[in-house]
Every structure is written in structure tokens, then in C-alpha cells.
């Protein structure tokens, strides 16, 4: 078999293995349970959640912020690494774009899940108030989702053309990929337009990603609440997204490498580079964390100091220290050692960072909600605390499962590693065709 055919065979989308089928089945069951819980939430109203007057943003919004943060990964790898011409990124770009599309799609969906009257969703578009950060958020999520899909699709066009030929013995698939390839023949003119289009898209994605994270932060910082009232929150959220996105990319890349047998393409060198990137991300985020807590602690206004005490030593202390210690300090120290940047240890660390990134959003949202500036009066005692109900957990679990399901299904139909670019970068050509020519 020629090198060309080997690369094509290796990188063309494959049927799910048995493990893959079980994986999809498990995700589908979790999704189904969430859908049932959501239907019950629609029928009985938000009372099935533990969201009340004070904790009116709970696990749904925490989950939303997590998805928005993780979607940042597409911009990091696909755009920043592209524009800085880092060639090692090639096998990771597509994975990052898939994670990005799945996460931003689920972020949009999670907002709807948090709405008491989702039937009025269209009001956001029909009667928008441009003064409201909610309107900015709705706009930027829609735009970012659209551009993320384009960023996943457009660079794939040459690969779809290759797959059209590759699946010639399967007419249905060939037709499907021919449709996606939009008549790509690899002419000089097409290549020129294609390259220019990707360049513009990559440049556009960076400000869009920054705007997305910043608006997400402004949803919080434009409200006068303890813990959120900070002009640094935009940068803080971007740094957090950098951590969550990189960790999600590492974890997904490891799974792809193992289960799609891509050891030849996603090498230890890639994990080493991603590990270094994660250290940088953790240190930057740690800096912003210190800034976010140190200054209010130094000023020690009554509300802020109560809030910080609650986080450092009170009810949320275990979550807070798990997030900061396990999700930032420990990874930053461990990843300084080369052996910890090997695929498996790095995967474990990345999973830890992803989990703590999720809890970090919970720690950002919930304690502030439970620390209103006005005294709590005339409400039952249990409204002063919050922990998600079973409905909330099932629905949140379903959104996480759906995100993984989207990534899994995309991997079934779209090459996880760019085929054409891999061929080009390694100077591999189709000798049979060349001979014929």
C-alpha cells in the first residue's frame, strides 16, 4: 500500500467499534434521562429545581459558563496556532474545532434549559434591548456557533473531496461527501480562495472568541453583586477559558489517539506541547484568581469579606480548594516535569482540570447568588442554601452527554485529523494519479 493510501486509510472516518457503540448508547441513555427530566420541568415549572429567589442562577448557568469557556479551544488551536504558523498543531486542529462546535451549541441550549418560559425564546430576537448583556450574549453565541461551524467545515472541503473518491465503492457515502466538497478539484484558483477564506476566518475567530468570553463575564460583572463586581472579570474569564479549553483538547486528543489508533499522527511531542500550554494557561489563570480574591480581601468590605470567608473556610471551602489546588496549582507543578507531559499522565491531569473547571464555574455562580446585598427577609430558611435537585443534575448531565455525543458523531463523519494538510505537510502525493497524469 502506498503512503498516500495508508494516510487516507488511517485518517478516513471509521465505523464505531464495539466500545464506540457502547459509548454512544450510554451517552444516549443519559441524554434521554435528561430529556425526560426536562419535560417534567416544562410540565411542572421551575419548582422541580432548587432554584429560588436567591439562587436563581445555579447549576444551569454554571454549566453554561463551562461550555462557553471550553468552546474557546477552537479559537486557541485553530486560529492562534494557525496565525503563528505552528505546524505541530495540524493533527489537533480538527479535534479542537469539533469540541468548540459541540460546546458552544450546548451553551446555547443550556440557556434555554434555564428559562422558565422557553416558549418565549423568540422574544429575545423580536424585542432585543441592546443595552442588555443578555442580548449581547444571545447575539454572540449565535454568531460564534455559526463561525465555529464554518471553521470546522471550510478547512475540511479538500478532505471531503478526498473522501468522495475514497468512498467510490460506497455510492451513498461518496454522494454525501461530494455534496460537502462543493465541487472541490484542488485547482490553483480554488486553493488560493480556500486559503484566503481560512485566513480571514481564523483572524475573525480570535476577536469573536474574546468577545464571547468577555460578554459572558460581563453578564456577571455588570450586576452589582459581591464576587462579580470586578472590571477584571473579562480577562479572568478568558484566562479560565484558556485552561478549560486546553484541558478539554488534551483529554479528547488522548481518547482519539487511543481509540482511533492515531499514535503515528498524534505523538508524544504533541502532548508535550499541549502540556506546556496548559502550564502557561494555569499560571495565567492563577494570577487572575489571586488578583480576584486578594484585592477584595485587602479592602475587606463587609460583604466581600463574608463572601471570601465563606469560600476559603466556609460551606464552599472544599469546592474552592479542590478547584484552585487540584485544578490550577497541582497541574502547574506536575506539568513542569517532562514525564508528567507524557500522554497518559497528561490525560489524567487534563481530566482533573476539566472537572475542576466545571466546579470552578459553580463556585463563581452559586456563592455570590447566596450573598445578596439586601438582607434576606420573609423567606423560608432553606432558600438561603442551594444544591441542585435531581432534575437539575439529570438535565445538566444530559447536556454534557450531548456535547460528547456531538463530538462522537462528528468524528464518525468528519476526519479527526486533516487529511489533505497532513499529506501536503509530509510531501505525500497520490503516485497512481501522478503516474496516470
Amino acid at each position: 500500500m502506498s503512503t498516500y493510501n495508508k494516510v487516507l486509510n488511517d485518517l478516513a472516518p471509521k465505523k464505531f467499534s464495539k466500545i464506540g457503540v457502547v459509548w454512544v448508547a450510554v451517552l444516549s441513555v443519559v441524554t434521554l434521562l435528561g430529556i425526560i427530566a426536562y419535560i417534567d420541568q416544562i410540565i411542572n415549572g421551575m419548582k422541580v429545581t432548587n432554584l429560588r429567589d436567591y439562587a436563581l442562577w445555579g447549576v444551569y448557568i454554571s454549566n453554561f459558563v463551562f461550555f462557553v469557556a471550553t468552546s474557546f479551544v477552537g479559537a486557541i488551536t485553530a486560529s492562534i496556532l494557525r496565525l503563528t504558523r505552528r505546524k505541530w498543531r495540524t493533527p489537533l486542529v480538527r479535534i479542537a474545532e469539533m469540541v468548540s462546535v459541540a460546546c458552544i451549541a450546548m451553551a446555547g441550549l443550556t440557556i434555554i434549559l434555564d428559562m422558565g418560559r422557553p416558549d418565549r425564546l423568540h422574544y429575545l430576537f423580536m424585542y432585543p434591548r441592546l443595552q442588555s448583556p443578555i442580548t449581547w450574549d444571545v447575539l454572540i453565541i449565535t454568531i460564534y456557533l455559526t463561525f465555529s461551524i464554518l471553521l470546522l467545515y471550510i478547512p475540511n472541503i479538500p478532505d471531503f473531496a478526498l473522501l468522495k473518491k475514497y468512498y467510490q465503492h460506497k455510492p451513498k457515502w461518496s454522494k454525501f461527501y461530494a455534496f460537502l466538497a462543493i465541487n472541490w478539484r484542488g485547482t490553483e484558483k480554488q486553493k488560493k480562495v480556500h486559503e484566503k477564506t481560512i485566513q480571514v476566518l481564523a483572524v475573525t475567530m480570535i476577536p469573536l472568541a474574546l468577545i464571547l468570553q468577555t460578554i459572558d463575564a460581563w453578564l456577571f460583572s455588570t450586576t452589582f453583586r459581591i464576587g462579580w463586581d470586578s472590571p477584571n472579570l473579562g480577562a479572568y474569564f478568558i484566562a479560565g477559558a484558556f485552561v478549560a479549553g486546553t484541558a478539554a483538547l488534551i483529554a479528547t486528543a488522548f481518547v482519539v489517539r487511543k481509540f482511533y489508533n492515531m499514535h503515528e499522527y498524534i505523538t508524544e511531542k504533541h502532548f508535550d506541547k499541549l502540556g506546556r500550554l496548559l502550564v502557561l494557561a494555569c499560571l495565567v489563570y492563577l494570577y487572575f484568581n489571586i488578583s480576584e480574591y486578594l484585592i477584595p480581601a485587602y479592602k475587606s468590605t463587609q460583604g466581600e469579606i463574608d463572601h471570601i470567608n465563606e469560600m476559603f473556610f466556609g460551606h464552599f471551602a472544599w469546592m474552592f480548594w479542590f478547584v484552585v489546588g487540584g485544578g490550577l496549582i497541582l497541574p502547574a507543578i506536575l506539568l513542569l516535569y517532562r514525564r508528567m507531559r507524557k500522554p497518559f499522565p497528561l490525560f489524567i491531569i487534563a481530566i482533573l482540570v476539566v472537572v475542576t473547571s466545571w466546579w470552578k464555574r459553580y463556585v463563581i455562580v452559586t456563592p455570590t447568588m447566596l450573598s445578596p446585598l439586601l438582607p434576606k427577609q420573609g423567606v423560608s430558611e432553606d432558600w438561603s442554601s442551594y444544591f441542585p435537585s435531581l432534575h437539575e443534575w439529570l438535565i445538566t448531565g444530559a447536556t454534557l452527554a450531548m456535547a460528547l455525543l456531538i463530538i462522537t458523531i462528528l468524528m464518525r463523519f468528519v476526519p479527526v485529523i486533516p487529511i489533505q494538510r497532513t499529506l501536503d505537510e509530509n510531501g505525500i502525493t497520490n503516485d497512481e494519479n501522478d503516474d496516470k497524469n
Binding site: 424585542y127 432585543p128 434591548r129 441592546l130 443595552q131 449581547w136 447575539l139 454568531i143 455559526t146 463561525f147 464554518l150 471550510i154 472541503i157 462543493i182 465541487n183 472541490w184 485547482t187 484558483k189 480554488q190 480562495v193 480556500h194 484566503k196 477564506t197 480571514v200 476566518l201 475573525t204 469573536l208
Partner: protein
């Protein structure tokens, strides 16, 4: 078998007793007694009316009796004249305007509630006399002054009677000076207005009130003036603010995000155009 038959008969009798018992209890249920509040009010030169309130007492204390129909009757030595009917509102209150030609020097009124399914038949009498309260606002270079005279309908002064002098406000009058002034031997009070009073548009309403008098009821005389200090309108209703509706979005928020949106739309169109170019080339 016989035992079963006995049980059936026994059950039937018990049911009949319970049914008949509840019927008797319902039939004997007494109507509730009603408490009526009835006061006479007169706005000089405007209207005379009755303020009515109805309430009843249950295990939770006093409750307003809402939607209770009533009739107002004027009683003279010769006859009873119906002045009209009305109904209390949801808070158990009503205002009944007495036709001007039906108010005499001495009046005997009765409010009657009859044939109500819930409340007992009740009648509340009220006697009142007419009184003449004349108030005048004097504005000169020396100052501003309110003079009020309280006379009976034969022109005799009513002496040593307390009159409230105040500026009308939304909830409760704002007292001028001491607030209550007593009529002298001529039935007169003279009150200097020494302070400046604020109002929305500079217009003020001064009031002289004889309040809750046993014989005359509440009598109020009003005077209008335009020397109040007009307030500054702080409303931002017509301005473009962060909290205004979509139609009054501040220009910055209208222009800047729309420029960004148009820019993004432009890039989107460019990308789609390039895709079409790729497809057709």
C-alpha cells in the same frame, strides 16, 4: 345472610340520619351580623356624600364585607324618601353622593341592608346638620393669609371649634403652622402662610377642614393657588437610558454594536461568497 341484611339496614338508617342532620344544621345556620360605619362629608360648593364601610366578625377577627347592597333613606316626620341604592366595593367601602336638593338644614338619614343571603337585616341611622364654612385666600404684598368663618345656617358664628388648615397632599394634608386653629367669637380663624410649599407644577390646594364633628360631620372648603414652588422633573422617561425600552436605546448602544454586527455580517457574506467561488471555479 340475616346479619348482612341487618348491617345493610343499619347503614341505610345511619346515612339517613346524617343526611337529615346536615340538612337541619344548614337550615338553622344563622346569618352574620354586620357592622356599619357611616359618616357624613361635605366639600363646600362641590358635593355632599356619605362614606360607608361594612364589616363582620368571624374567628379570624374583623373582615371587610364586600359587595353588600344597601339603600339610603331620608326620614322626615311625614315620610321616608329613598335617596338611592348602592353596593360596597371589594374592600367593603362605598361613597354615596347625596343629591344637593335633598340636603336640608337638619337631616335624618338611614342606611338599610335588607334581604341579604349572608348578612342580617341592618339599619344604621345618621343625623347631621348643615353648616356654612367659608374660606378665603388673601394674597398681598404683606403676605399670604387664609381666613375661614364657621357659621350655622342662620348666620350665627360657631365659636371655639377646631379647624384644620392644611395643604392638600396625596395621602394626608400638610398642616400649615400649628395645623389646628380655633374659631373666635365671630366664628373666624386667620392663618398666615409663612412657608413656601412645593408642588409638581407650582399649583397648590389649601384646605380648611372641620373634621368629624358630632353634628356637622366632616366639612371641607378648598382654595386653589399658583404660588407653590414647582418641582424639578427628574423623570428619565423620555430620555435614552440604560434602563429605557428598546425604542429609546442610547445612541452609543445603538451605533457601536450595530457596526460590529454589520462588520461580522460582512465577513460572513464574504465567506459564503468565497464558498460559492470555490464551488463554481
Amino acid at each position: 345472610m340475616k346479619t348482612v341484611q341487618h348491617i345493610k339496614w343499619f347503614n341505610t338508617i345511619i346515612l339517613l340520619i346524617v343526611f337529615a342532620g346536615s340538612f337541619i344544621v344548614n337550615a338553622q345556620e344563622e346569618k352574620q351580623s354586620l357592622s356599619i360605619g357611616l359618616t357624613y362629608h361635605k366639600n363646600v360648593g362641590v358635593e355632599s356624600f356619605l362614606k360607608i364601610s361594612t364589616s363582620f366578625k368571624d374567628e379570624n377577627g374583623w373582615q371587610n364585607a364586600s359587595k353588600v347592597p344597601f339603600e339610603v333613606v331620608k326620614i322626615t316626620q311625614e315620610e321616608e324618601i329613598s335617596l338611592g341604592t348602592g353596593m360596597t366595593d371589594l374592600s367593603g367601602r362605598a361613597k354615596f353622593v347625596i343629591p344637593t336638593d335633598k340636603v336640608g338644614l337638619e337631616n335624618s338619614i338611614e342606611l338599610r341592608i335588607t334581604d341579604h343571603p349572608v348578612y342580617e337585616d341592618t339599619a344604621e341611622p345618621l343625623d347631621f346638620k348643615e353648616v356654612d364654612l367659608k374660606a378665603k385666600l388673601n394674597v398681598s404684598t404683606d403676605g399670604k393669609q387664609i381666613t375661614a368663618t364657621l357659621l350655622d345656617m342662620e348666620g350665627n358664628p360657631i365659636v371655639d371649634e377646631g379647624l384644620k388648615v392644611q395643604v392638600k397632599r396625596l395621602i394626608k394634608g400638610l398642616p400649615i403652622g400649628d395645623g389646628v386653629y380655633y374659631t373666635d367669637e365671630t366664628g373666624m380663624v386667620v392663618v398666615d402662610i409663612e412657608e413656601d410649599y412645593h408642588s409638581f407644577d407650582g399649583n397648590l390646594i389649601f384646605e380648611v377642614v372641620l373634621e368629624e364633628h358630632d353634628e356637622f360631620g366632616t366639612v371641607r372648603s378648598q382654595m386653589h393657588a399658583d404660588f407653590g414652588i414647582a418641582g424639578t422633573d427628574l423623570s428619565t422617561y423620555d430620555k435614552r437610558t440604560l434602563w429605557s425600552p428598546a425604542g429609546k436605546t442610547p445612541l452609543f448602544f445603538l451605533i457601536f454594536p450595530n457596526i460590529v454586527l454589520l462588520g461580522i455580517l460582512g465577513i460572513f457574506v464574504y465567506l459564503i461568497r468565497n464558498l460559492i467561488k470555490i464551488s463554481k471555479s
